[in-house]
Structure formats: structure tokens, C-alpha cells
Subunit: 345 residues, 4 copies
């Protein structure tokens, strides 16, 4: 089979750059066009000198996208801008993988409640598939538009989904305590990401109000069939890449850690990118890779189930998962271009 | 009133060094002697060049302590070594502030269960006061031996204590998710604290089994009168100093954030070192200082109470609190030597 | 003697904040007014929560400065803005310590060449004293306006000055390789200080063109009497605070390290804030303090003199030195308010 | 052509681990055996959980190497241990790439002078080729034993070699100021690499005495034909990976930056792993990759040539270069297995 032509819209943000890293050598893919409104006319490698000699394509404006024949478009855009793109430009006859939050919630009402802005592409919303391969692989295969999951939700849902589905834990009162590196906040500088403020520091933010909350809840419900209620608290880690999520839930019966691990191992048997591990995982165990490492513990004393999961927020939490979705949508081997070992140390 | 003579036993560990930082200019204190078994005969400043011209006293062996007339001895020793010191040497007629874990648990049985070693100073244990000034100030005033609280417990108990005492939250099912900088692991290098392993990394450890768990539970019980059950999960932050603790508990009735904040503010009214704040605090807000910054949120949607507290683990979490205890024990103004503003940025 | 009244103009930048840290408990100083144009009307502690309960004064506009009776004004402003302040407002009858670069170069022509902007306060420039106490103490004592030295120049000049003055090294061909933490770039966020870009990274910048070059050269000339030529290369360290400067120069004769160290020790004998050390110093040896630690080595094999010096860029490299200058100008003990031990670890 | 069988001796050090990262998917290579004396019998992935599902081979002892038929052995051992290996075991009929320092200096006398230990494999030393492909490719092609260059030397020699060879700079009085991440110090923890000591810190070390000095000098001499004298000063950067080297030298005539850049670009024309760049490079531009990014500047004012070069110390500075050498020795395409883009951000 020959290569497909893809476009990366918003190629100079962090998820866009990461798509270039993963796709420029993917042997089934030709990166036909990369766009940036703020850097139109410049070479990608002049913005990112690390790509000198590697990927030097010139950045074009969205306005010129119509000149390219594309099989797939990655939208690496902020929320709101993504649905405006779809609204204004359609899909150019291509399949779409959207890395923004605009199409992750099935309910536009819920979207409007958490994102405080009207949803302007409700028709498209109905056709969208949520792109978590380990849960929705068969739907992704035939999707026209895939909503690529958020970083926090990926790390959370992979941990809790199988436990809920198997009725091992209660779907209420779940606590999700997440810690993310700063690249999750995007490539645009602001006072909260100013180096001297973040360095040596750590804080919680958006307590009780983070927009990934409904994404976690609705996906867990869709997958497990149980209305799920999650209290989600994100924290900002003073590192560049990586998320670690610790969850606390109440088991439906007396369990043990070994049994829980086996349940997870069984569920993820055959999966290339989820590793059920028997010691608490570290963020650097997955740095730069598409892995999610997943640990579970049953605390006998307090009768709670704890999970700890780690991903690289820019890979399994964004662009790597997008490539995995692409591989599924185009019938490539699912791990093509993603067999990258973690960078340790 | 004239100065008191103090000795710092184990002066070259991190809590010992921090005691020197806080005490060398305390105008009511004369650091009469500093000990180190591994560096006997060397100047303190030759081990810590940052103290050149500041504190250059020669380190002596514990064996020579008997030659000094001391009003107070700080034991900045590992657990087990502290009770051996008391067992073998007594107190030299001085008051004792012990920074180890050996005298923090009232029950020697509980100590033996969590620390996997016999308690060898049970008689002394009975006389010990737990040195959390905001809770036990009057007992500390007359104590001969003070057990200085652990770093994780300090950050946790200050947050949960008043809520439990006031019957605002349930004493069961409390989740404590803590994140600590690496100095909490002490000054001794090992593979888990090797820079390339920790840098850019993050992980949970001692899940379900950390020894600060019984200290948190028993202190909360002693203070609030309620048998308290806590699930405590520590994580290792890639920073040098600081702890942030996030707790999740269930309220006894419908509440609101404002009311909770007022309850805490009222409880800590007049306290010099606990600041009840109205935005989630950052670790660097207290770096190098004796403050605990404390935030509370009531999550209406999930009916949970969240607290976020930050301390510098070496100051309010160890040596600063020890100095605060000393000030109380010797009737000095409680903030003497501790009015150090946080180092930000 | 009673207190003096000081104003801090530009109190919410990093050097302004650091002045608050050092002055709010200085027993000879009353911080009468703090200004900020962008945060007028807000409490200092609402911008910097670390100052809650410590320093809560309301920020006012420069326009209101005339309502205050001040003995001393600290200008913690960017270059250009400082001389505009002096031009537009005069000095309000107060003495001035200017932390910007506007008055550091005696020659306005040189200023205009390196800063690419006209100097608009040439009259005032003539009266200014360069505020490096160890070199120009007696002039500082009687100065009306003190130009507080730059951070890189402080670390460089303290190392090279005595060697040049004593004719130990040649004044041509000196290489200065400096490495600074990010707070040196100020409190304003930009893409170059965005956390994910700086974290784990390191780079040289402004090669051959950094504006501290003429400051280093002209000060060394003024002090040593020798026209000095320096090649200065700054680098950006992924830390919050601190500068380490390595210099390479050619000795005028065969020397040895011991002799050089003695020369420096002799020169700095009696100085409170320069410590001549016998092992290469680390940045954290001076973190948060007003010390400059200084090491010298004679390399026999290549016949070169190497110096390594460290300072905290915000203290001895800015606000600490400003307070030292104030102490001199008002006949306070020179170390008042500055006896702060380094924060290690 | 079929695969070659390789062994990695000392696979659990950082350079050994990095060889696994680069070779486990190299399609011309079969990693036949990995050794570790301290972890014999354990799976590689149990020591490095990041390799779970990726590389799980069991670690064997050197004593068992004789049971394997190998085309190539990588010695990822400390200096001294490497030559003992060769002395005691020979080469098992395989080619050798030695990543230690034992065979980098042609002169055993010089080795003994700088490493303070007798050279015990002088016969083998004579046959060794220094494995810097860009300089010695044709010799490497036919070598039996390749001494893989040191990390600091690689970053330095690639910058200075062409300038010396072309007679553009003087070979005396060269200053090399290098800054390295902590993984350069190896995987073994010690007090100097304890996280709280390194974090937020920076220092120079081994001033005038670092063992990479003779390697730099003798290689530059071998390549350029000029006796070269270098003053080399290493510094410890608080990051995990990466070296940045700044050099200062005196040109033989008036030059300009553009011309120098062209000279370097011409010299490295066709090279896959050296990129001559026109803005000062950052360490993260090459993180995880085999690139060396190289910048040159002529400073008119002081008549000096400055170079800035960056590498990942574990890749181009160690294991990546070793793989590059292997590719040359076995007539594989030189970039096989090394086309890994840098991990940015």
C-alpha cells in the first residue's frame, strides 16, 4: 500500500511539533503540508532548530490548505479554534483527527457548561468517535472524525475503565489526583509558566473546575455503562513532559492487589502501549514513548483501591495517541512509527 | 534573660544543618556544641562551605557531649539511633527535642508494628510531648522531651485537625496525597536520589505502608478525640525542598468553601506560622520559611472537602518547628529566630 | 538613630520584590511606599502570596510619590525607564540607588553605542557613583545617586579587579564565561523563559554583544587604572537564582595558586561579603545571601589564571548590594539586614 | 546481509543502557548477550522498568561470555576495568568498541600520567583506532579495536579540529569551557550527585586536571598536525543529559563569522550528524539524538574566535557514536539506527 498524505494544522504548537517528530519518518505517511498562522512562510526548522536537516518544510496558512490533496488532517489547535476550522472549512474531503477538546464531549450542553462557549459544530459532533484505541478500537476504525483524548483523561480512564467495567470499584466518590509537566499548558508563554516561578515549585490548580472532569466521567460512563462521578484535581509539576495520575476508589468487595493486577493485565493483554507493572511507575519510564504504565494496589487497612498511571502527555496523552488512531483508521499496523523506547535517564 | 546553651547531635544531616541555619543568629541561643560521628574533628564549614565565616565550630563526637553543660539537646538523628542515644546517654540533664520518629507514636506496639524494630526507651516514651505547637502548645511548654513531628504529618495534621475537631468532616475514608522534595529523604546519597534518576521524574512510593501513617492517625485522634483512618500516599517531587499535601474527605453536612475557610482562619487566628489562604498555595510561597499555607475547598458537585497545604519540609516540617518548640519550652517569644520571609522566586 | 524612609519604585519586578525581602525587617529602615504601574491599588501580598502577613502595603503609582517624604528611593526599573524617571520627576529630594543600567557607564556615548538609545539624563550621570562597595566605598558614602552594578559585572569585577590592580594579570585577552539563572531575565514571561524551553536546557546568548561588557571593562579600568579588554559570553542556566562566572586571563609572570589566593584574601580582608575559598564554589553556597565566593587557580601547564566566582544574582548581584550601598550612604553598619545565611540545600 | 551478533559488556551503566536503546531495534544487529556483574541473573527490564516488553534479556556474567559467538563486543565499562577485560579475556575473536578511556590516548605514558595507574594492555593500544568518524572514518572501517571518544572531547574536537586543520586559529592558548549534565558522571550514586545537592546548583570541577585534557590535545594534534595546548574546565549542569562546550581561541588573521561558518559547513558537508548552525545552539536541540550542533563566531572587537557546540553526552558523546562506529566497521549505512530526532521540548 502506498503512503497517505497528511496535513498538520497548527504545527508549531507542542502537539503539532510532536506529530512532526512521530510522522516525519512514518513509512506509511507523507507529511504533505504543515500550517501555522503566526509563522507562515517560515521553515519549520527555523522555528524549531532541533529539526534542522530533519524536517524543513515551509509553514503555510490554513487559507492555502485547499491546494493540497489530503487523506487525513490533524487539527493541533486550541479548543474553540478547532470547531471554527471545521465550521468554516469543512474537512476538505479528508478524515480528521482533532487534538483539541471541542469534540470530546458527546453532549454539546455539557461542553457549553464547562467551556463557557457555544458549541458551533453540533452536526459534526454527532459523527465523532472518541479516540481511545484500547476502549473504542472498532469504532475508530471506521470514523471520519476522531476526537483525540485529553492527556489527563487518558491517564485516568486507562486506569479506572477496566475496574469499573468489571464492577470491581464503585462509580461514585472516585478521587483523581493528577500531576502534569508544563508542556501540557502549551507552547505559549505566560506568567504561570515563567521559568523562575515554576522551577522548584509545585501547586494544585483549577480545583473542582478543570474541564477534563466531564471528559473523564462521560467516557467512563460510555465504556462501563455506569454513571461515574469523579473529583479531579490537577497539579503542575516542575518538569517538561509527563503525567502521573493517582486514583482512589472504593472496591465493591474485599479484593487483593494481585487479583486486581491480574484483572488489568488480562484486560490489556495484547495491547502494545499499556503495560501493567508491579511496582509504582515513574514518569521517566515512559518519557518520549507512547506507553502508559499502570499500577494497582488494594489497601486492606482502609479498604480502598489505588491506581498509579504514567504517560508522556505529548505522546500517549496527545500526538502519539493521534498517530495510533491514524494507524487504526488507515489499517496500518497499530504500532507503526510508535515503537520508540522511553528516554531514560 | 541570658542565652541558653544548646547542642545539636547529628549536625551534618539536613535537619542538623538547618538547625544551625536557624539558631546561629538566634539571640537567645548559644550553639555550644555540634556533633558528627563521620566528620569528627572537622569544622562544620569545611563540610558545608556555605557556612564559611558564618559558623565554623568544630564537630565533636557524641562521646564528648558530657563535657558540655547544655540546657537543650536537639537530636537530629535517624530513627532507632535517637532512642539508642537516650537509652545509652540519658539526657545529660538537658531538655530534649528529638527530630527522629522514635518518640512520635505514643504506643510502642504501634511503633514496633510500623518500624519493624523493638522500642528500647519505653519509659521515656511516656513522658514525651508531641511538638506541634498549634495543637499542643501548653503541654510543650512544660515538656522535658519533645518529639518533633514528621514533615508529611505536619502538613497533613494542620489541614485536617481543625476540621475533625469541629466535626466538619468524617474521620474515616480520608485520602492524603502528599508530594515531597528530595531533601526529605536525607543527606545520604543512594540510587533513588541519584540526580539523573530524579530529574524530570516523579513517582509514588511506599503505597499503603509509609510510616507517617500512624503518626497522622494517632495525632488526629489525640487532638480531635475521633478515631481517624487515613490512606496516605507519598510521592517524590524533583525539587530540593518543600511538601504539598492534598487531602480529600467527606463532610458531615452540606458546607461551602467560604465557611470552611472561616473555620480554619478562626482556629489559626493569632498563630504566627499558619496562613489560611484563598487561592491554592505553591511550595515556593513558603520556601526557606516556617510557614504552613493552607487552603480549603468544598466541592459541591461531589460533596467532598479538599485541602491543600504547603510547608518547607526542612523548616516547618523539621528544624523550624523544632526551634518553635524550643522557644515555647524556654519562654522565648515563639517567633524568635523564625521571622524569615520565604525565598521567592 | 531613627529610621529612614525609603521608597521602592517598581516593587513587583524581581529586584523590587527582593528589596522588600531584605528591607521589610531592616531595623533602620521604614518602607514608606512601594510603586507599581501595572498593579496600582493592589496589596503587595496579593501579587506575591508569599508575603501574606509579612508585607501587605498597597502599591501606588509613581504619580503619587510626591505625597511621601523619602530619604532614599530605590529605582527597580528597566533601563531607559530609570533615566526617564529621573528626567521627569527628579529625585524628590531623596538619595537614589538605581538598579537599572542607565547610570552605570560614565560615558553617555558608550551607553548609546551599547544600548542603542539616547541618554537623556547626562547631567545626573556626572554625579553618579558606581555602587560596588568593595571598590568604591568612600565615594559611595557621599553619593547622592548610586548606580547599582549589574549582576554579571559584580561576579566578574570582584574576581578580576584585585588581580589587575596588583598587576598580576594582563588587561587584554581576558575571557569571561558566565552562567546565570533565569531570574536575571526579569519577572516578565516570554518565549525564551517559557518553562518547557528552559527546563533541561542550556545555551549561550548575546555572544560578543552583551551590554554588561562595557560595564565590566570601564569599571575594571576605573579601578585598576588599566584599559581592560574583556570577551564576555553569558549563558542561561536552568535554575532560578545564581550566577557562576569563570574567567581566563594571562598572568604577567610565573605565579602559583597559593600566592594568588593570598593576594585575593589580603585584598578582601575585612570584607563581610566576599569569601575567598580554596575549592571551586557552587552557586547554592550563596543562594539567598549577599556573599560572593571567589576561587582562583594558576594553571602551570598553560600559564593561565582561572577564577571562579558565584553570587546570587538577585542579592549581591542586585538588591542585596543595593542595601549594602544604602547602609554605607546612611552610615549604618554595612551588614545590617544582610546577615542572611545561604539556603542550602 | 544478515545480522551481526553483538554483546554489551556492562549493560546496566548509562552507556550500556543507551546502547540497548539504540541497538534493540537496529535491523542489522542482534543483541546476543548483555552482561552485568552486579545484576547477574536478573532481567534487563527488571533493572530498568522502562524496558518492560521492549528488552527483557537476562543479564549474564562476563565469565559466561565465552558461550556466545559474537561479531562485536561493546565494552561499556569504567576505565581500568576495560583494559583488564582485554588483558584477561582477549576479544573472543570479536571486534571491540571500547567506551572507556583506556585506549583513547596513544601514549601509555601520557595515560599513566593523567590516570595515575599503569597501562596493562600496551600491545592492544597500538592497534586501536580513535573512533571519531568525522575525522578518522577510513581507519575506523578496518579497525579491530575502536576507542570510542569521550563526551567532552567529542564536543570540543568537532568544533576546533577543522579550524586548526585549516590554520584558522592558533594551537596555543585555547580555552575550553564545558558544561555537562549529570549522567556524564555515570549511574552510580555518590554525594556529589545526590539530588538535593545538584538541584538548582552549578559548579566547576577538576580545574586544570581533568583527564579529557590530553585526549582533546592529542586528537587535535593527530588530526591537524599541530601540537595543541588546551586549558579545559568542566562544569556540572543540573540536568540529566547534554553537554555544551564554549571554546575561545585566537585567529591567525582577521576573519569574519560568515567565513568561519562556511569553512565549518564545507568541512562537514555530507556528514549526517554534525549540523553547522547560525544561531547559538541549545542542549535540548540535540537531546536523545546523535547530532552535534556547532556554532562559530568571530569577535572583531577582541579578535577571538568563539565556538559553541552541543551534544547529548550519552548519544554522540558515547553510545550513539559507538553505534556510528559499528555501522562503519560493518559496512552498514552510517546512520542506521541513529535517525532519531531530538526530543524537544
Amino acid at each position: 500500500m502506498s503512503e497517505i498524505n497528511v496535513g498538520i494544522v497548527g504545527a508549531t504548537g507542542y502537539t503539532g511539533t510532536e506529530l512532526v517528530r512521530l510522522l516525519h519518518r512514518h513509512h506509511k505517511v507523507n507529511i504533505e503540508v504543515v500550517t501555522s498562522e503566526s509563522n507562515t512562510g517560515q521553515k519549520f526548522s527555523s522555528i524549531f532548530p532541533s529539526y534542522t536537516d530533519i524536517f524543513e518544510k515551509e509553514l503555510v496558512s490554513i487559507k492555502d490548505l485547499k491546494n493540497y490533496k489530503l487523506d487525513l488532517i490533524f487539527l493541533a489547535l486550541p479548543h474553540k479554534v478547532s470547531m471554527e476550522f471545521i465550521k468554516n472549512h469543512g474537512t476538505f474531503g479528508a478524515k480528521i483527527i482533532d487534538l483539541s477538546a471541542d469534540f470530546r464531549l458527546k453532549s454539546s450542553a455539557e461542553y457549553e457548561q464547562w467551556y463557557h462557549t457555544p458549541h458551533i459544530a453540533k452536526n459534526e459532533l454527532k459523527k465523532v468517535v472518541y479516540g481511545l484505541p484500547e476502549f473504542f478500537r472498532s469504532k475508530i476504525r471506521n470514523a471520519k472524525i476522531v476526537a483525540n483524548p485529553g492527556c489527563y483523561p487518558t491517564s485516568t480512564i486507562l486506569a479506572l475503565g477496566p475496574l469499573l467495567k468489571k464492577d470491581l470499584i464503585k462509580s461514585k466518590g472516585i478521587v483523581v489526583d493528577s500531576k502534569s509537566g508544563v508542556s501540557g499548558a502549551g507552547a505559549k508563554a505566560n506568567s504561570k509558566t515563567h521559568f523562575p516561578e515554576v522551577f522548584g515549585n509545585f501547586n494544585a490548580y483549577a480545583i473542582g473546575s478543570h474541564r477534563h472532569t466531564p471528559e473523564i466521567q462521560s467516557t467512563l460512563k460510555e465504556f462501563s455503562g455506569k454513571k461515574t462521578e469523579v473529583l479531579f484535581t490537577p497539579h503542575l509539576l516542575p518538569i517538561d513532559r509527563g503525567i502521573l495520575t493517582t486514583t482512589y476508589s472504593t472496591p465493591n468487595k474485599v479484593l487483593d492487589s494481585e487479583l486486581l493486577r491480574e484483572e488489568l493485565a488480562h484486560f490489556y493483554d495484547g495491547e502494545k502501549f499499556v503495560r501493567v507493572v508491579d511496582t509504582p511507575p515513574s514518569i521517566k519510564n515512559v518519557r518520549g514513548s507512547n506507553y502508559c504504565d499502570l499500577f494497582v494496589h488494594y489497601d486492606e487497612r482502609t479498604h480502598k483501591v489505588i491506581t498509579v498511571s504514567v504517560i508522556d502527555n505529548l505522546v500517549k496523552g496527545a500526538s502519539g495517541q493521534a498517530v495510533q488512531n491514524m494507524n487504526i483508521m488507515f489499517n496500518f499496523l497499530e504500532s507503526t512509527g510508535l515503537k520508540i523506547p522511553p528516554l531514560f535517564p
